[in-house]
Amino acid sequence: MTLRPVLYSEWTKIRSVRSIVWALMMAAVLLVGFGSFACGAYGDGEAAQHDFDPLALAFWGANFAQVAVAVFAMLAMGGEYEKGTITTSLTAVPQRTRFYVGKLAVTAGTSLAVAVPATLVTFFAAQGLLDEHGVPFGDPGTVRGVISLVLYFPLLTLLCVGLATIFRAPAATMGIFLPFLFLLSPLSMEVPSLRTVAQFLPDRAGLYAAMNLHSNSGFVYDAWLGLPIMAVWTAVAVLGGWHALHSRDA
């Protein structure tokens, strides 16, 4: 039993709904746009700061792009429940694991395909704009940062698809998860007593690995560990979604 027809079908689903396509395009635009803008407009000022990090400034747009990525993933999976198309989908592909794997693979794959060029363009455009304050690709931390941001997109996508499958209602999932991404998680990093815990949250861990040239003394773990920590969260969400899909009626 091959997975290819399911992948082709899932790709057709994504491609044929404008809001889903736009959400992902928006992620790329926000990443490139905000990074270039920050480096071009505030590069010199920021470079004078003692804690200046050319990677953090270049990838500043990731804070906004991640919201678009989350919306993309929740529309792709949550939309199936919201519109009721999950019944049609499971009638066409009644083997639920096969359907789920197909959905995960195509959403994560699409996300990755957008993340690679978007991240590379952002990095080189931003470092070019920073001029003498920039870092060349290959300097310590740059390779880790770029690879982490490229993988941050598909990991966040998988996480959100898992959550959307567990909670089914995209409005509720977005209503809880987006403020978390945008507000709760970053704000909790500013509260000293929460900071030790908050740095293990999936988005903080992933962005820590992507946006820091050097490991930050405020974190209790090394920057390269950020992505594996996020991957653990993702695995839990994906398995939770798989369990929900199997144990409940469609």
Partner: protein, 291 residues
């Protein structure tokens, strides 16, 4: 659902009837593996649905026509389904043509009327040229032309030797088309009979007529053992009679008839009587609630 057991045979249209809330949709969802029964099983050609490889090539289903992404174009909607079961893209255009949606293929489904969605759902069901069709309320929300079209389609499909199961909560909707009836109420099987047998048992018709000489006709009919009674709107009614019998008597007596029609409500009434005790919300209960 309790002790519900029946078989659907190929080559005939089987009407799956029951009042709202009887469990028709749930039964159909169980057939498709969407809901799982706590006990028991549904086999399609000896297999459970989830074990069928590329199921759209064997079973076509129409469930909720509203369960579509409004932002997707009609053709894309069918492409999504076709590609998941390795059905060639050309079938998509053929089916859109067959259900009369070729002109709307590139329109977004959000702008479709219920009738158009129903047609799109049927195109989806027919996509894989399946031997088995499971259709939930296919006549819902259709105009008379659409109803006629689906009736002919069901007939054609059954005459091809396919298994056709079509649900409805109205007896009259299916009476013309169905060869066989499966009637349920509150999740239990009430009847599993052929249409011929059902009509023979309950269909002893009733004739309604309009005449300018009711007294004379009444006497003639009484002599033959029929009773003529007045009903609303100046119409007269003869119970347990066929139009040809009454027409012949009137002609013999030279009584002019302005109108003569068989009254087909008797099947619907038989169906209502059969399911009355089992309807989820009966009219009587509703009246009680009001007082």
């Amino acid at each position: 659902m309790k002790r519900l057991s029946f078989q659907v045979e190929p080559g005939r249209v089987t009407a799956f009837l029951g009042p709202n809330g009887a469990g028709k949709t749930t039964t159909m969802r169980m057939m498709l593996g969407l809901d799982r029964p706590t006990d028991g099983e549904v086999l399609i050609s000896g297999r459970s649905y989830a074990r069928i490889q590329e199921p759209l090539r064997h079973v076509g289903a129409l469930l909720d026509p509203a369960a579509v992404h409004p932002g997707r174009r009609a053709r894309d909607q069918l492409l999504v389904l076709a590609r998941s079961n390795r059905i060639p893209d050309v079938r998509v255009d053929d089916m859109l043509d067959r259900v009369g949606l070729a002109g709307a293929a590139r329109r977004r489904i959000g702008g479709f009327s219920l009738g158009m969605r129903q047609r799109l759902g049927l195109a989806a069901a027919l996509l894989g040229d399946p031997q088995v069709l499971i259709l939930d309320e296919p006549l819902n929300g259709l105009d008379p032309e659409g109803i006629q079209w689906i009736r002919n389609l069901l007939r054609e499909l059954a005459d091809d030797g396919r298994v056709v199961l079509s649900s409805s909560h109205l007896m009259n909707e299916m009476a013309v088309t169905a060869d066989h009836l499966v009637i349920i109420g509150r999740g239990r099987l009430l009847a599993d009979v052929s249409m011929t047998e059902f009509s023979a048992r309950y269909g002893h018709g009733r004739v309604r007529l309009r005449t300018t000489r009711p007294e004379r006709l009444g006497r003639a009919l009484a002599a033959e053992g029929f009773t003529l009674t007045a009903t609303k709107g100046g119409l007269w009614e003869v119970l347990e009679a066929q139009p040809d019998q009454i027409g012949a008597i009137a002609a013999r007596e030279g009584v002019p008839l302005q109108e003569l029609q068989p009254h087909s409500d008797s099947l619907e009434e038989a169906f209502l009587r059969m399911t009355a005790g089992s309807a989820e919300f009966t009219a009587a209960a509703g009246r009680e609630a009001l007082t």
